[in-house]
């Protein structure tokens, strides 16, 4: 056989040549040498080692397929099928074939079959088994990493709604994405290598904000900020920025910076806030306007009524006029209640801190009620002698609560007593806590009622033929007022049988300077004494006038002179004069707090009194404006009131009427 003949002479010198023998036997690559008929002619030591066979002679002479079957039992070598395929391919094509085999165990092998051909005859096949497990694993890892990196790269680069980029450890821009380009305006070439502080405004730069943010990020592992950032063209946007330090094996690689453009959401937010503010402003304006619009004619009506009551009326007329007055007063109270309530609800209500005496307040309210209480009801007051003579508080509001509770008590009590009790329950270095109780023997509160007592617009008598009038706001206003004074309000049934006890507490600040306090207190006492006793209206006027300023708008110099003289005679020291309506408007608006009242002639050149009044009202001036008019036309004077005047007085001005009107207007000014 030519094949055998060819093989023998070749093997001879190989056997003889130790070098060739060593080449096969000692190669570190596990190798099997097969002859053309695929019989094993030689195996390397390394092959023996990995195949687990102990005896070379057992392997030599084996058919290749048997050899691989034998070796597969050790499971360290690749499957027989792969080796077989490579050998066959090498034999048939006479070219080098190799194949990578990955086993289930994770081991990887490179199988290489090298055909040795002499004179177009296949002499032998050198079969190598190279363990490439480690390389394979590395390759896999690499592939995986490349894949992941690529995915993230694509993700980051294509995101347009976020600017995502990396900074090096010193804060210079290292990467740039589409989003960053889209809303920062820099191209990749522009910005890479520049410091990220380029995005910040002057103020932030001066403030050292960029550096601080990196420091904060390093310290806290993250830094988030909202603020203005600048584009390449200098325009700015409202941004949310998150800076995170990036480490690899504890070495700082840099920072990732994610910036979101919040301009639109911020705009939407601002629009929402603006809309809300506008709505609430409109609401309060509406309330203020409405109450003003209602109160102005009410005041006019009531002042006219007061004047009417002083004229010669017969019994019938007098009775009717009294009915009008009473209803008008109630209506005014209702309007004031609603205004107070809406002010309290909107939080625009504040209590002043004057020097007050609780005893005085209670006594004054008590006296007012004493004058008109029902004959079957005994009105009593029990005042703790320890009540402070003076403390800081709001006398008007304190009075309002007592007034309210006391009138409730008298309203619902037909017989028995109404008692007002005030005591000092706590005293420390800063505050006096005062408990005021109003106890009555009236109809009381039905069981289950106390829960809703202080709820606005609630009244127990909701029947169509309501016996007791009111808005149901009184107690809820009292509650808010008591809370504003740092106190509480409450109810419990009268322990002496039927009736109610309404109580409230108030925390009043101690006065610091005693000498000043005493002086002020003297003043309070004397004024309250004056206002309660029936004194000469002229004297009363002088007391009220002392600190009031009046603007007199009158074009006729002669009348101006007379009015000035009259006002000074009434005790007004600060009277300013305007020659016409326009000057009156200018003067009154120059400093809206400078006048307490305006006396306005109706017919004046340049701008008449009615249009001046309208302008002042439109511009929000609330002080009383009294029209002076010689127009005897019926109904005309009344129309001035509808146009914003508080009251009117006929010319020639009668002094006692003027006093009445001024007293009414100036006194009412307070609560308004």
């Amino acid at each position: 056989m030519p094949t055998n003949a060819n093989l023998l002479p070749a093997s001879k010198p190989a056997d003889d040549d130790g070098l060739l023998c060593d080449l096969i036997r000692l190669t570190p690559v596990p190798t099997v040498l097969l002859d053309a008929s695929l019989l094993v002619r030689q195996v390397s030591d390394s092959y023996l080692l990995i195949s687990g066979a102990s005896d070379r002679n057992a392997l030599v002479g084996m058919q290749a397929d048997d050899l691989f079957n034998y070796t597969t039992t050790t499971t360290t070598l690749p499957a027989f099928a792969s080796a077989r395929k490579v050998i066959r391919a090498a034999r048939d094509t006479r070219s080098v074939h190799q194949m990578k085999c990955v086993l289930d165990t994770g081991a990887a092998w490179n199988l290489r079959a090298v055909p040795i051909v002499r004179h177009d005859h296949l002499r032998c096949i050198q079969m190598e088994f190279l363990d490439i497990t480690d390389d394979h694993r590395k390759q896999l890892e690499l592939e995986e990493r490349v894949y992941a990196n690529e995915t993230f790269r694509i993700l980051v680069e294509t995101v347009k709604d976020y600017a995502i980029f990396m900074l090096d450890p010193t804060g210079h821009v290292a990467t740039w994405n589409a989003g960053a380009q889209a809303f920062k305006g820099y191209t990749k070439a522009d910005i890479i290598g520049k410091h990220f502080s380029a995005f910040y405004g002057k103020e932030d730069l001066a403030d050292g904000k960029p550096e601080r943010e990196l420091r904060d990020a390093l310290r806290d592992g993250r830094c988030e900020d909202e603020g203005w950032r600048y584009r390449s063209d200098g325009s700015r946007f409202w941004a949310n920025v998150v800076i995170t330090p990036v480490y690899k094996a504890d070495v700082l690689l840099g920072f990732s910076k994610v910036t979101r453009d919040l301009t639109e959401s911020r705009l939407a937010e601002q629009k929402l806030i603006a809309a809300y503010e506008e709505a609430s402003k409109l609401k309060s304006e509406f309330l203020a306007n409405m109450s003003h619009e209602i109160r102005t004619p009410m005041h006019g009506m009531l002042s006219a009524l007061t004047l009417l009551l002083d004229t010669q009326l017969d019994t019938n007329q007098l009775e009717l006029a009294h009915v009008i007055q009473e209803s008008g007063d109630v209506l005014l109270q209702v309007i004031n209640d609603i205004l107070d309530y809406s002010k309290l609800k909107s939080g625009s209500f504040s209590v002043s801190q004057d020097i007050i005496s609780v005893t005085d307040i209670i006594q004054s309210v008590f006296r007012a009620h004493q004058a008109c209480h029902k004959p079957g009801v005994k009105l009593e007051s029990v005042l703790d002698p320890h009540l402070p003579k003076s403390a800081e508080g709001d006398s008007l509001r304190y009075r309002q609560i007592i007034q309210n509770l006391l009138s409730n008590a008298t309203k619902f009590t037909e017989e028995g007593y109404v008692r007002i009790v005030a005591k000092l329950i706590k005293e420390d270095d800063e505050f006096y806590t005062i408990l005021t109780e109003v106890i009555d023997t009236g109809i009381g509160v039905p069981t289950g009622g106390p829960g809703t007592l202080f709820t606005p617009f609630t009244q127990f008598d909701n029947s169509a033929t309501k016996r007791y009038k009111g808005t149901g706001l009184g107690l809820s206003i009292c509650k808010s007022l008591a809370e504003l004074m740092g106190g509480k309000i409450g109810f419990h049934p009268n322990p002496e049988g039927h009736g109610s006890v309404f109580w409230f507490t108030a925390k009043l600040k101690r006065c610091k300077q005693m000498s000043l306090v005493e002086a002020l207190q003297d003043k309070t006492l004397s004024t309250s004494a004056r206002s309660t006793a029936l004194v000469n209206p002229m004297e009363e006027m002088k007391v009220v006038a002392a600190d009031k300023r009046i603007l007199l708008a009158e074009d006729n110099l002669m009348n101006q002179k007379v009015m000035l003289k009259m006002l000074i005679g009434l005790g007004f020291q600060g009277v300013d004069v305007a020659q016409d309506g326009k000057e009156a408007v200018t003067k009154a608006l120059h400093d809206p707090t400078s006048y307490d009242l305006i006396l306005m002639d109706v017919n004046m050149p340049v701008q008449d009194g009615v249009s001046a009044t309208k302008e002042l009202r439109d511009k929000g001036l609330q002080i009383p404006i009294v029209a002076m008019t010689a127009n005897a036309l019926k109904g005309q004077a009344e129309s001035y009131i509808a146009k914003g005047m508080t009251g009117y007085i006929a010319k020639p001005v009668d002094r006692s009427l003027l006093i009445k009107l001024l007293m009414n207007s100036l006194k009412r000014k307070g609560p308004g």
Partner: protein, 151 residues
């Protein structure tokens, strides 16, 4: 304070005063005087009025004669102006006439209710201004006498 308490004499006792002066209003002015003999304040007011009235009547007469532009409106305003001054002093007759001038000037009848023609206005204004002036001179005499002015 009432008129009878007035030590320097009661103006209402001067002939002609009763119809032309409203005592309450005038007394109110008198009460503003600090010195009841000198009566500096009320005197100055009264003489201011004399001056005002003289010039106003002159303006009225010339305006009614020329009939230029919105002369009726101007007359109405002048009437209103003098009405205010005379009312302050309580010079009732002058005040009432001035009010009529105001109405006629705005082409209304004497009560200010019904419309009248321009011609009617002019006719009525002519007589009423003359009347007002006459009334003014009458009351001027009374006041002058009161202030012992012998000019």
């Amino acid at each position: 304070m009432s008129a009878s308490d007035d030590k320097s004499g009661d103006i209402m006792l001067i002939p002609g005063a009763e119809d032309t002066i409203d005592p309450a209003t005038f007394e109110q002015i008198l009460e503003m005087d600090e010195d009841e003999v000198e009566r500096e304040f009320s005197r100055s007011i009264v003489y201011d009025f004399f001056g005002q009235a003289d010039s106003t009547f002159k303006k009225m007469e010339s305006s009614l004669e020329k009939k230029e532009g919105e002369y009726l409106k101007e007359l109405s305003e002048l009437g209103h102006f003098l009405k205010g001054s005379s009312a302050t002093l309580g010079l009732t007759k002058v005040k009432d006439s001035c009010e009529k001038i105001q109405h006629y000037g705005s082409q209304k009848d004497e009560t200010g209710v019904k419309d009248i023609t321009e011609k009617e206005s002019c006719d009525k204004l002519k007589t009423t201004i003359a009347q007002a002036k006459k009334e003014f001179l009458e009351v001027k005499d009374v006041l002058k006498e009161y202030y012992k002015d012998t000019d």
